[in-house]
């Protein structure tokens, strides 16, 4: 039991910093740093696991002090690092970009674009065109008032270069 736990822990703890750096880096700055620590070294699954993340160019390591957007980025890094242990074939993420500013939305979008492919499928619910215009395909959901029902329509973005401009205009 301890062995299984430690295999999972060391796998994730080796990767968390790399994932966080990749998520938070930008053209002008290096990404932040993140690591996991065990509360009880001797009996790992008895104690808890502490997660520390330090955004780029910041100094605090205390998760409580992070801002809303900084917490979201740290949370996504943890999610992706944990995922790498027994990777499930797909993610479904519902408005994870709600607290993010434009530059962090762009970082998430490019991370997903880079990592989606055979073996990992991202299905993302979003209200921000700066996120969804980067996807391969869109599923548009609207309410058909006469039938009092939700309806769906699909659009493959890869066929259109200008699709994102169209969708945003319709939304407004």
């Amino acid at each position: 039991r301890t062995e299984l736990f430690m295999t999972a822990f060391s796998h994730i703890s080796d990767r968390i910093d790399g994932v966080y750096k990749e998520l938070t880096k930008s053209t002008s700055t290096v990404g932040g740093s993140a690591y996991l620590t065990l509360e009880d070294e001797d009996e790992p699954y008895a104690g808890g696991i502490r997660y520390h993340a330090m955004p780029p160019m910041k100094r605090f390591r205390d998760m409580d002090l992070l801002s809303g957007g900084e917490k979201t980025m740290a949370a996504l890094a943890l999610l992706f690092a944990v995922h790498s242990f027994h990777p499930s074939p797909f993610f479904v993420l519902d408005e994870i970009d709600a607290a993010l500013d434009n530059s962090n939305v762009a970082k998430i979008a490019s991370y997903m674009k880079r990592h989606s492919g055979v073996g990992l499928q991202f299905i993302v619910i979003s209200l921000k065109s700066s996120l969804f215009e980067n996807s391969d395909a869109l599923v548009g959901i609207y309410r058909e008032q006469r039938e009092n029902s939700s309806k769906t329509v699909t659009l493959d973005l890869r066929n259109y270069q200008t699709a994102s401009a169209e969708v945003t205009r319709k939304e407004d």
Binding site: F9, K71, V82, P89, L120, I125, E147, S149
Partner: protein, 174 residues
């Protein structure tokens, strides 16, 4: 593997049958105005994979069945004659079409029956919920850990969870 498509039948705000294909896209976005039914689509995916209804913003399975009539205790003038004639459905189902790495297609289906119980089936054959979750586990879809589903508003809680919770999450996936 990958999720190739979904079919919802009288599930939450989807009246009748609604089907969605994800094609060969590996990055798909679900968009639409507030209240359109986006999170209900995530609820459909969670439901068909075996997630319990408490997580799906409902108290019991029946709440997940499409309801069209005006929900009101008083005799509301809004529910005009034509409304009352249309009975609300009493059962619902969600199908997920999953494509394995070897190209084989697996049709996962979960129903809500008139009596409020729920059935699971794989490729048309009824199975127990245990057999269902074993078949999913073989594809690395671990419903207990749920670390691949993030419900609306939950993302910040992932980072702020207590050390104990984080250890427990790790224990489930190991």
């Amino acid at each position: 593997g990958r999720l190739a498509g979904l079919e919802l039948h009288n599930f939450k705000s989807y009246r009748g049958t609604a089907s969605v294909g994800f094609g060969d896209a590996s990055f798909t976005s679900i968009i639409g105005p507030n209240g359109a039914g986006k999170s209900n689509m995530l609820d459909a995916i969670s439901f068909v994979l075996g997630v319990q209804s408490a997580q799906l913003r409902s108290h019991q399975l029946r709440d997940l069945i499409y309801r069209g009539r005006v929900e009101s205790t008083e005799n509301d003038e809004e529910s005009s004659g034509s409304d009352v004639l249309l009975q609300d459905p009493t059962s619902a189902y969600v199908c997920a079409f999953y494509e394995k790495d070897n190209g084989e297609l697996m049709k996962l289906k979960r129903t809500i029956n008139t009596n409020g119980s729920s059935d699971y089936s794989i490729n048309g054959k009824i199975v127990t919920s245990l057999q269902y979750s074993i078949a999913l586990k073989a594809e690395n879809i671990l419903i207990k850990a749920k670390n691949f589903l993030v419900f609306q508003g939950d993302i910040e809680n992932v980072a702020a969870q207590s050390p104990k919770d984080l250890a427990r999450m790790l224990e489930t996936i190991s």
